[in-house]
């Protein structure tokens, strides 16, 4: 069974500002709000409160930037999010 990429020693957004890529999650009318919150907690290690904030941003504004940093790591996060069936893309933050 393939494993989703494991992301270790996560750098902070500030560590990676010279190669800024955003991981963006887009709204989807089918995914349950509770499910989206759970996946944010699982993939990014967010607290429930922070995951809820991003989930509500996705729900109300149509998208939320959930992580910013190096491209390779952003791709790994997008892969994880796709593995959990969320609509996610990466895009340059500038």
């Amino acid at each position: 069974m393939p494993q989703l990429p494991t992301i270790e020693n996560e750098p902070t957004t500030e560590d990676a500002i010279d190669v800024p890529w955003n991981v963006v999650v887009h709204n989807d009318p089918v995914n349950l709000m509770s499910y989206v919150t759970r996946i944010f907690q699982k993939v990014f290690g967010f607290t429930k409160q922070k995951a809820d904030v991003h989930m509500m941003e996705v729900h109300k504004q149509g998208r939320s930037i959930v992580w910013t940093g190096a491209r390779e790591r952003a791709e790994a996060y997008v892969q994880q999010l796709h593995g959990h069936l969320l609509l996610a893309t990466l895009e340059k933050s500038v």
Partner: protein, 160 residues
């Protein structure tokens, strides 16, 4: 149907009638995007939103196969569990699920809901509207999506 947590390791779906049994049996087939470009695109979205052609091609070549296998494995767990839908003396059926299988069930239910919504091109309005059983096949599919959502919600609470 009654759903309950039996113990630390087990969740029970009990007194399942033929309609609900049929809905459960439909999960694996419903999760299959074959024959629908919209459903396939939803399960395997473009990582750069189509902005970078080469990145999209690399993604299809190197990432999608892993995702496909991941999705197949989750649906496979559900398929195997469904073989244990046991008839009872009342004519109804019971299904006991290991809690460690619930992540696979949550995934498969989600996948089925996404594929059904994409395949039948449901609008946001339709998905959010109060459920009505009028209107034939399309209403039945909408009911199926909502039923899977309820089941998914229950399972999510069990794994929190």
């Amino acid at each position: 149907m009654r759903i309950s947590r039996v113990d630390e390791q087990t969740v029970a779906l009990e007194e399942i009638d033929s309609v609900v049994a049929d809905l459960l049996q439909k999960i694996p087939g419903s999760a299959d995007p074959s024959g629908s470009e919209a459903a396939s695109s939803r399960l395997f979205p473009q990582p750069t939103g189509g902005r970078e052609q080469q990145a999209e091609e690399d993604w299809r070549e190197y990432v999608e196969p892993d995702l496909r296998e991941l999705f197949r494995d989750a649906v496979g767990v559900v398929e195997d569990d469904l073989k244990k839908l046991a008839p009872t003396s009342t004519g109804l059926r019971d299904l006991h699920l290991p809690v460690k299988h619930l992540d696979a069930w949550i995934h498969a239910l989600n996948q089925a809901r996404l594929v059904l919504a994409a395949r039948h091109d449901f609008t946001d309005e339709e998905l959010e509207r109060d459920l009505s059983l009028e209107g034939g096949q399309r209403s039945f599919v909408l009911f199926q999506i909502h039923f899977y959502g309820l089941l998914q919600e229950f399972f999510l609470r069990q794994v929190d």
